[in-house]
Symmetry: none
DNA sequence: AATGAATGAGAATTCATTCAT
DNA sequence: GATGAATGAATTCTCATTCAT
């Protein structure tokens, strides 16, 4: 599991009072659960499976989670948190809005690749949560999207990208990244991750960049010597 | 349920011999199952739920399906088949490759919209099938994608679209359509279906069209009088 | 199935009135049932199995039997009847009581061998019948035993056998014959049917014959020339 | 249930790890199962019946047995083990081969009498087990037979019994004992257990003893004063 | 805090039996 | 008389959850 607490915002009850212990135990259990849920699905994973993999007793789990659904909630949040954590890391230190935008896109693709099965889990199992828990998940998703949307908005504000509906386009970018996990069974036959990212960059630059944006882009990623612009601007 | 047989390629056993009756009963049961699976998920739907909704006895279901998994398989195929059926309908009679391409995209978005919950079902529940059944689902998905890919290829062949990796871009289009279902909870707050489709058209034309493609596009969809090109070409 | 009506004494209701048809249909169905019950057991044989093997519909069976138990009853009676039919055939024409006794023993062993699986069926499944049906089975068994007991009694009356408790010894003989079926899995590794019968004859003659009985026995089955009495009399 | 572990040789899985507890619970459950299976038959006894009689929950049973068949297996082994346990007890301390032989026969009859219903169970339900489990049952039966066969062989070796095919005759003795259970419904009308045993001894002595054997027999069981030899030697 | 044995409600599946055609 | 589709009660087995130790 990730090293950050996955409980952000979730109101999950524990019978145990020692905060550090709660952190450690929940981490242990969620790590086991994410792996098993991802591999076998939520319903086909038993509490005993999780307990065995986490190397604790089944009874212990109920001291840190009120029910199985709670484990799922924290498992999903753990996945979403890993997205939310990686993107800022990828863009920190970069000042150019276009560079930040592209870095965010690439970072998202890479974190999805690292947690491919877990990404599928989020798509498959969110509906197993009751409505209010689902809201929490959605809020996390929107927060992550916002990280990307902000980059795009900056590009537009600086005239590097066409004025598009930012959130809609953000969803396209997010979906592009998620698709690497969702359709991995086929995409992996067509290209590797680097090629997939490159294809995405090619696609979104054409879809979004203004002439000014293109000039900036060329500075960021000069063409190799002797190679002509592959997709000539109109 | 749809009016076409959903059994295409699936080897689902029945104890009943009368072919027409099998069609009718399976249709009845799959229709109930798709609705319940979509709403409550595969695992939280019981055979008795399905029987009650289909207005048959629980035992009857086992005369037409060998187990619950079989119902899921035919349910998923029913959804995928509805995609595969609508797209050809939308493009038949159109000759221009670009018109066909755009019509296919729009049709896909509309059929996803009509079967929004069922589309989610496919994402959530395919993994509940055993490997060989899953292959069948994947084959159907690829066949549907091929319908769109062919349109795109034609556009490229005629110099209307940039030469891109056809199957990868097809996946983007497919994912764009699916996202309307996957992220409906948020997208529906941002726009309606028509706007979503328009946004997609705007996006993909910018990403793909050549100058020649743009001229063709203007013939297909002239700007309203007095309105300037919204996103001026670079 | 055997050619004699198996309904002797059983009050099995039929919805059909034509007597000859009842005979034929019941024969057809019981023949199928005996084979299936013998091979798979009563509980693991379904009405549909029987219908399929008898080449009729499952509904038809209920026109000739009131329930599954009824089929079992007639199946068991069919087996017991075949015993009761073969023994008289084997001893008719024989006048000597000892010859009749030995012929009855041998005949019983042979009919058990011919219907080995069906004999097991009787041991396994009689308890599946309700008490009153079971009485009927027992009456048939006693009647068959009586055929043998009468032979033994004659031998005793004529001083060929020791005066023993006739019915108890009869049970020994019956059990000896049945054992060929019950323990076939092992006995068949030790000897063939002829040897088994010979062993039985050897055993029972030693256990039962008087000196007068032995002299009679020697007339019936003279020793091969040059062979001494294998088990010399005391 | 018997006080010895019935698991001899059977590879029955348990989810519980505490060995002593497994012994206790399995004993509890098998005791209930043997009684119910004997009375109602294997198929007509439900897991819930067994649970209720054993005074545990139905779920508990599945912590100690992997399925219903496993309960049957251990139930049958429990019965066979009680045979295998009683015979050695009956002959230990006896040195004379003939005395041992007769004691074994009598002991077998008595243990069958004590577990009459359970003996029937073995005949009725062994076929409900899959082939490999059945082999285990057969091996146990053969091992028990061997205990008797050894006594008989000793008698033959010392010239007390005629040289007969030991295993075949052993099966006769075994069948004689089993018949007390199999045909109890009738035998019990003819005699009590002591008389049945006496009848068996009378029968087998006449069938097997040599003159030397008879002299030994008279020493073991002198005739009551003033009573003539009932079945005078020829 | 931790364990794991025990519980029992719940779900899929089977199959004897009925009955409209 | 014959058919076979339809029924639904009954059964096995699973697993989240509890609680005594």
């Amino acid at each position: 599991m990730s090293d950050m607490t996955p409980t952000s915002g979730a109101d999950v009850k524990s019978h145990v009072t020692d905060g550090a212990l709660i952190q450690r135990r929940r981490g242990q259990i969620v790590a086991a659960a994410v792996e098993l849920f991802s591999r076998q699905g939520y319903n086909d994973t038993t509490i005993i499976d999780i307990a065995r993999k986490a190397d604790v007793s089944s009874g212990l789990i109920y001291q840190y989670f009120s029910d199985k659904e709670d484990i799922l909630l924290l498992s999903l949040l753990d996945v979403l948190d890993s997205y939310k954590r990686e993107i800022p890391l990828a863009i920190e230190g970069l000042n150019d809005p276009l560079a930040r935008f592209l870095a965010a896109l690439e970072a998202y693709c890479r974190v999805v690749d690292q947690r491919r099965e877990a990404t599928l889990l989020a798509y498959r199992s969110t509906k197993s949560l009751p409505g209010d828990r689902r809201q929490l998940i959605k809020a996390h998703e929107l927060a992550t999207n916002q990280l990307i949307a902000a980059c795009l908005q900056d590009c537009i504000d600086q005239g590097l990208c066409r004025p598009v509906k930012v959130e809609l386009v953000t969803y396209q970018l997010v979906t592009f990244a998620h698709s690497w996990a969702l359709k991995y069974w086929r995409l992996n036959e067509l290209c590797n991750l680097d090629e997939y990212v490159a294809e995405g960059v090619d696609f979104y630059t054409h879809a979004l960049l203004t002439p000014k944006g293109w000039r900036r882009y060329r500075k960021l990623r000069p063409l190799p010597a002797g190679q002509a612009e592959p997709n000539s601007l109109p």
